[in-house]
């Protein structure tokens, strides 16, 4: 399978994510995207390095199983309505996402990058995923969907990291996963605290905390 196909599927999953109206489905799409990302290094023909194989396994395990598992558990425990409940409507979100993807294509073309990059789609996909993650973070009300947005954001950073995967030490790769882990845990704590304090996981209630 060519890496370009996987990358294109990733970009596609961004659009699906933005248009989806159910929390459960958003988590599912995040799983799909995580697994796609995990497979990209293999498709790029990097399977010969044992440490990259290890990284692939870890990525798929964390992004495709562990984090969705935690998210689904949180979803079960806090008993919230299933709707995504956005600030920005789905159509507008889709258009913004398209705008972001277009912008990333232009930006990626103009960015001063290391020469000899084979996967020309990698950088725009990374930027586009990053923007999508941000869009989710900014435009979705529920803390849980914000965690999903954070995940997507991290996926974008991961894609960018793939550009340098052969030169980058393992340390940085682990750093990415660790970062993500911390993010989910912090958000988990935040969700629980919002819930105990306000009896709801709507981040709008955090506005009461301002001075």
């Amino acid at each position: 399978m060519s890496p370009d196909l996987l990358i294109a599927l990733t970009i596609l999953s961004n659009f699906v994510l933005v248009a989806t109206s159910r929390v459960n489905k958003a988590i599912q799409i995040a799983v799909v995207q995580g697994i796609l990302l995990g497979l990209i290094p293999l498709a790029m023909g990097l399977g010969r390095h044992p440490h990259i194989l290890l990284m692939v396994a870890a990525t798929i395990a964390v992004k495709g199983w562990l984090i969705p598992f935690l998210l689904r558990r949180a979803l079960r425990e806090v008993h919230i309505p299933r709707e995504v409940d956005p600030y920005v409507g789905y159509t507008v979100s889709l258009m913004l996402c398209a705008l972001g993807t277009g912008l990333s294509l232009i930006l990626a073309h103009m960015l001063p990058l290391k020469g000899g990059t084979k996967e020309i789609l990698l950088v725009p996909a990374a930027l586009s995923t990053l923007f999508t993650g941000f869009l989710m973070l900014v435009s979705r009300r529920k803390a849980l969907t914000q965690v999903v947005g954070y995940l997507i954001l991290e996926n974008g950073i991961y894609l960018f990291g793939l550009l340098l995967v052969e030169d980058m030490p393992l340390l940085v790769e682990t750093g990415i996963l660790l970062d993500l882990f911390v993010g989910v845990f912090v958000m988990g704590i935040v969700i629980n605290h919002i819930r105990t304090a306000f009896d709801s996981t709507d981040t709008r209630h955090l506005a009461e905390l301002r001075d």
Partner: protein, 646 residues
């Protein structure tokens, strides 16, 4: 080196067992600290006595650059107070801050961390370990200051400290970046000839002066120092004042080590700042009635004296006069050690008074000389040393600087050496006046409050560390030639390229200690002669035969110093309120006076207050919505990306 590293590890872990022990945690921590200190001191003394310089290359794996630790004579000299004072503070802490007091376990743990960071920082000769140690020191000191975090003034002092010290660290990042740009590596190494005179050299010097000056408490940058030292527990203040602020000096000395040809004006700037810190520091100390704030201002004064010495050394180096260079640098470096000994002693003794009376206010003490004879003796010895009187150690280091500036005066008629002489003389006299005030207010006369009347002598675990520090003061004062070879080695590192003369004959050290012994003998004879006839009787203070005397009729600390404070009105701007009486039979009338800090209370506080008033205009940006904040992040990211592309 391995001995040294084991010592650092021991210091670091010293507070850990205490976390799990129900009792005796303080004793265990103090034992581990003392063991570590003994090992570290052994390693340092071995290097100072001429042993080989030990180095250790840290693995480059996580940092992309190999770190380097070097135990050279300079590091060893600074390691002496680090180990000595932190161990003394830990032992002192057993009695001073026992398990019943708040955060006792955390305090011991973090004190160990502070000691370890200091010991690590001293040997770091690479930008990264240096900054690691620096930050470790900063953060652990911040936590130590916060020990009594229920008090609002403690929280305020701790935040002020954190803000100031991180502003300084920012400058250090810049300085190290410049340094590595000049030498091509992050390891500390000599800079090329001519670099110091270039624009980058000037920037490096100013950044270092700012960054290290903030930590050292040089006068316009001292604003965090008084409140922090007053807010921390006394043994922590001892470590902070005795050791931590010296790390700023260590940084400056390291900078001078890298520069083969410092320009003349560097020395002039150092001397000017030294004179300013010294004179104003002691002047502000005179106006204080909080015992620990008073001592804190004296730290600023002593940093001033050290800077005077450093500046003199730089003058000697830049004009090629090794004698002046040796005397200036040796005076400054010896004063670093001396100040940590006597200031540690003074803070520990002050802690005992505070422990016994429950107040830091000089106006509420009094008469403690009879009730706490050991501690009073220790405080007297410390005051004697800090005032630079023979035969104690403060005199020896000031003697070097005096000698150096007299030589410079004879050689060149520089106005700068005149400045050093005047400043030193003024500092010495004012320090003596200030400690006469402090000593008189604390020990002499009748107790001014009930707490002072019921004071008790400190327990042995608090007296022993004071005794050790006092013995150190006396030893250096009486036999300075013991340290002379070590100082020679340190100064040699500072003056690469020039032939350095040995210090002992240069400063007439043998005759100095002979003179000290003779003086001491005379003093002993005088004491024998003046001894009371019947030592068993204890009598109240002589009250001039007045029939109904009361403690309120004594001189207070403020009234004692009032003449000098009024004379220094142009610099101190003391504030007083009330006290105007009218009529023949005036009613009760309140009066209060205090000396606010020149920089903090008159300049930075008002400036930041008006800044925060103006910042209200930006309040609309903070809506309390996470989404909006994230939007800001997104917009910043987009702007940066577009800016990079365009």
């Amino acid at each position: 080196m391995s001995l040294y590293l084991i010592a650092v590890a021991l210091l670091m872990c010293s507070g850990v067992p205490g976390l799990f022990l129900r009792r005796r945690g303080g004793e265990v921590a103090a034992g581990l600290m003392s063991l570590g200190a003994l090992m570290g001191l052994t390693a340092a003394v071995r290097v100072l006595a001429g042993g080989p310089v030990a180095t250790l290359v840290l693995p480059p794996a996580p940092l992309a650059s190999a770190g380097l630790l070097t135990l050279d004579p300079l590091a060893a000299l600074f390691a002496l107070p680090v180990f000595l004072l932190t161990a003394c503070a830990a032992v002192y802490g057993i009695g001073y801050w026992d398990n019943h007091q708040e955060h006792a376990r955390t305090l011991r743990l973090v004190l160990g961390l502070l000691a370890a960071s200091l010991a690590f920082l001293v040997v770091a000769t690479h930008a990264l370990p240096f900054l690691l140690g620096w930050e470790g020191m900063t953060i652990s000191a911040f936590l130590l200051v916060l020990t009594e975090d229920r008090l609002p003034e403690v929280r305020r002092a701790a935040w002020l400290y954190l803000v100031c010290t991180h502003t300084g660290t920012l400058a250090l990042f810049g300085a190290f970046a410049l340094l590595s740009a000049a030498t091509g590596q992050w390891t500390f190494s000599a800079l090329p000839l001519g670099f110091a005179a270039s624009g980058r050299g000037t920037a490096l010097f100013l950044l270092c002066l700012f960054g290290f000056g903030f930590k050292a408490g040089i006068m316009p940058l001292h604003l965090w120092l008084p409140s922090t030292h007053a807010a921390a527990p006394s043994h922590v203040s001892a470590v902070m004042s005795g050791v931590m602020i010296k790390m700023g000096i260590l940084g400056l000395v390291r900078l001078l080590c890298w520069i083969p040809d410092p320009p003349f004006w560097w020395g002039a700037v150092l001397m000017g700042l030294g004179a300013l810190s010294g004179v104003l520091g002691v002047a502000f100390a005179l106006g204080q009635h909080d015992l620990k704030r008073l001592l804190a201002y004296h730290s600023i004064e002593n940093i001033g004296i050290i800077l005077l010495g450093l500046g003199l050394g730089v003058l000697g180096k830049s004009t090629g006069h090794p004698v002046i260079q040796v005397l200036g640098f040796a005076g400054a470096l010896l004063h670093v050690l001396n100040h940590s000994l006597f200031k540690g002693l003074l803070f520990l003794a002050a802690g005992s008074f505070i422990h016994a009376t429950g107040t830091r206010d000089l106006e509420r003490m009094g008469g403690l000389g009879q009730r706490m004879p050991w501690t009073s003796g220790a405080f007297l010895l410390g005051s004697w040393a800090i005032s630079g009187l023979p035969p104690l150690n403060g005199f020896v280091s000031e003697w070097f600087i005096y000698l150096g500036s007299f030589r410079a005066l004879g050689l060149f008629r520089w106005p700068w050496s005149l400045l050093v002489l005047t400043a030193l003389a003024l500092i010495g006299a004012l320090a003596l006046a200030c400690f006469a005030k402090a000593h008189g207010a604390v020990f002499l006369g009748a107790p001014r409050s009930e707490a002072a009347g019921g004071a008790h002598e400190a327990p042995r675990s608090m007296r022993v560390p004071m005794g050790i520090l006092a013995a150190g003061c006396a030893l250096i004062g009486l036999a300075p030639m013991l340290l002379a070879p070590a100082l020679d080695r340190v100064v040699a590192a500072l003056g690469e390229g020039t032939r350095v003369q040995p210090l002992a004959p240069l400063a007439h050290l043998p005759s100095l200690s002979l003179l000290a012994l003779v003086l001491l003998g005379l003093a002993f004879l005088l004491w024998r002669w003046l001894r009371p006839l019947d030592p068993g009787r204890t009598l109240p203070t002589w009250d001039c035969g007045y029939a109904v005397s009361s403690p309120r009729m004594q001189y207070t600390a403020s009234s004692f110093a009032d003449g000098l404070v009024a004379g220094l009105r142009w610099a101190l701007w003391p504030r007083s309120r009330g006290g105007k009486v009218a009529g023949c039979f005036p009613a009760d009338h309140p009066f209060e006076s205090h000396v606010p800090d020149l920089i903090l209370d008159r300049i930075t506080d008002p400036a930041f207050q008006s800044l925060s008033m103006g910042a209200v205009l930006l309040r609309f940006l903070q809506g309390g919505k996470v989404h909006i904040y994230l939007l800001y992040v997104l917009l910043t990211l987009l702007t940066l990306l577009l800016w990079m592309v365009a």
